[in-house]
Symmetry: C2
Subunit: 431 residues, 2 copies
């Protein structure tokens, strides 16, 4: 027979649930929509990509390299930290003096580049941001270095008391070749220090896990990815981000709400794609490249944050080196000192907020607290998502907060920077 009793597939009664094709539909629609935007952009603006222009972001004057000089000076702090630890291990410095020197060293480490950037007008914002990022990473590394060496001394003191003999014999390492375990204070060498400084981790350990050899094909593939994504990031920023940001200035100045919302959504797509590319470029390509070069074994630089169903899970998994550092050197010590979980967690967000603000405000020479507030806003957001949204809804909420939150902060800073630097000129010119 030609007909028989049956329900339509889309009726709830049919129990049908195979929608694999819908995923393909989503992908096709995304590609086509963006192909259209790309074509529209090209027709409207022509080709704006200009690799030479990138250099001018780092340098004002080709004969002075202030940011590069700053990075070279950073070595001084590394050497001071190593020297202090050596004196501590020999007992020449008491724990108190050592702690004081470390504190002064790290306080200078974090304030000195900021002062240079704020006082020296020849430092460009991009150059300053790069230098400050390196100083921030170094700060976290040296803090970890100090902590771990302190723990080693504490441990050996306990062992000496317990077993009446020291397990940490410096001559041991000398006799048993490079591949064997190093023990305190045999780790206090220049070579070990600089391995840690360049290694893609923020947590110091006496014996890092090492990969057996350098795989050349892996290294080359990561290098190609790095070069390709660098080009793509620069090209997309110039071709896609800059025109949108330029056209957003007028509505932002007029505080035209509906147009601002439109510009925000328009900026969200390229900003998000650039962030995804940056993530892959930095956390996969660059870090794996460095790790392969240094035969560093632990390649867990990120976890599956794309599946995160809570805001907390996202922050714990998208940047594993920072997460590990926070857990080991900030969150757990706070818990040990008797603070509650919620206070310690909030403190981590505050610390993160401070460094976000530090890395944005100082290079722009403009203190607006948007980045700080953006990070602090994660605490109520995490509470809301964790409390009310589950599963895929939670995941969608995390995505929306990433996609919308970032361009919001970007627009805020760009607007303030524009008002500060250009608006006064344009108002002055009619006079």
């Amino acid at each position: 027979s030609c007909h028989k009793n049956q329900d339509s597939l889309l009726s709830s009664a049919s129990g049908y649930s195979k929608y694999r094709g819908i995923l393909n539909w989503c992908v096709v629609m995304l590609v086509l929509s963006n192909a259209r935007l790309f074509l529209e952009n090209l027709l409207k603006y022509g080709i704006l990509v200009d690799p030479i222009q990138v250099i001018s972001l780092f340098l004002n004057d080709p004969y002075s390299w202030p940011a590069a000089c700053l990075v070279i000076v950073a070595n001084v702090f590394v050497l001071v930290a190593l020297y202090t630890e050596r004196q501590l291990s020999k007992g020449s410095f008491s724990e108190r003096v050592g702690c004081l020197i470390h504190c002064v060293n790290m306080a200078v480490l974090i304030t000195f580049p900021a002062a240079v950037v704020l006082l020296l007008p020849s430092v460009t914002p991009v150059g300053a941001a790069s230098a400050l990022s390196i100083y921030t990473i170094l700060f976290l590394k040296l803090y970890s270095y100090k902590d771990v060496n302190l723990w080693c001394r504490e441990l050996s003191t306990i062992k000496v008391k317990k077993l009446s003999r020291s397990l940490s014999c410096p001559s041991q390492q000398h006799f048993s070749g490079g591949d064997c375990k190093v023990s305190y204070p045999g780790n206090l060498t220049l070579r070990d220090m600089y391995y840690f400084v360049f290694a893609p981790t923020l947590c110091y350990e006496l014996n890092f896990p090492r990969s057996p050899n350098i795989r050349m094909s892996f290294l080359l593939r990561r290098l190609c990815e790095m070069l390709f994504f660098t080009q793509l990031l620069v090209a997309l920023t110039q071709q896609w981000m800059v025109p949108i940001i330029r056209s957003s200035m007028k509505p932002l100045e007029d505080m035209d709400m509906s147009r601002m919302a439109e510009r925000l959504l328009r900026l969200a797509v390229p900003n998000h794609l650039l962030w995804l590319m940056f993530f892959y470029w930095f956390f996969h390509s660059s870090m794996n490249f460095t790790a392969e070069l240094l035969r560093f074994g632990d390649r867990q630089f990120y976890n599956d944050w794309w599946n995160s169903e809570t805001v907390t899970y996202f922050w714990q998994n998208w940047n594993i080196p920072v997460h590990k550092w926070c857990l080991r050197h900030f969150y757990k010590p706070l818990l040990r000192r008797g603070f509650s979980k919620i206070v310690s967690q909030s403190a981590v967000f505050f610390l993160s907020a401070f460094f976000h603000e530090y890395l944005v405000s100082v290079p722009l020479r403009m203190f607006r607290l948007w980045a700080f507030m953006g990070m602090i806003a994660q605490i109520p957001l995490a509470w809301f998502v964790g409390r009310f949204l589950r599963g895929n809804y939670g995941n969608a909420a995390v995505w929306i907060s990433i996609i919308i939150g970032q361009p919001f902060a970007v627009l805020m800073y760009v607007h303030d920077y524009y008002v500060l630097h250009y608006s006064s000129h344009s108002q002055a010119s009619p006079h």
Copy 2:
């Protein structure tokens, strides 16, 4: 220990494959992109939705309803078909005469409305398209009606010869109530004929499967969907489609290729969404509504075409009533007459192409063969996709052909219609 030997998740060596969050990402990105487009459109054009304007699409002069009159006249053809079948069942007409009357009836059925539309200028394109669609559906239904009744007569002749007694006793139905099986020629009643005319199927059967009762909540939900989607379709067409089509006229006239491609991609998204809504409105809401009202049991009006990995699968599953008709009354008879599969399949595409062209060209009073060629192009496309693409790639290819192919044809017709009706005026005005 803080570190251990492990690969990054995105390295191929890690064997990681959980990307559920990426699907959510796609959905979020699609929603946000379209929210942005929606806002941009509102800011650019204001609110263009105007329900009153819709009426003017159906009527030029509120005192003459040519399309509605055409639909009423259609009853004549239904009655002629029923009368012919009755005479045939009684033996008053020979098979030859019956076939001739049916052929003339259906030839007039398909040419008469076309002639009226082409000769009467008061018929609007939308009104004409609606009337012609109804005539086309009626044509397919009456063809099926004729075929099935012929098969019944052939079957009973064979049975008479074999068993020397007729199983098809007309008095049987008379005694055994309405719910029992009807047998030929007991089906040749006005009531049975009109049930078939209104039923959501194109294939006639003596005994359709029936649902036990009318579920009021189901009926109301489908009715609400119908009303809601009608509003939405009209609103989106006026607000989204029309401005894009208007702005495409200039590039199309100038044959500016890159701008035409941009407009095509820009049109593709709203056109595709409207088509999806139309699909749901017609094949799910309206057909289920009619079926529920008539207690028609077979609700398979569409199959899972969204998962189709070949073009053929798509055409076999998105419109089940037409597919069933083609299979039963065109494809299988052709096979029985000794044609090969590939020839019969191509013939089905040609028939479909003819009706597509008929439904577009006649209402627009403009013969351009774009719709015809669009359908014919499915044959090489089906071959290409079936030959070279598998699984999700095939599915993506089907989606792309749907998303891009339709707006291409739409733009072609709109362009030709515009050139024919408006371009000459605008060129004449400067004189």
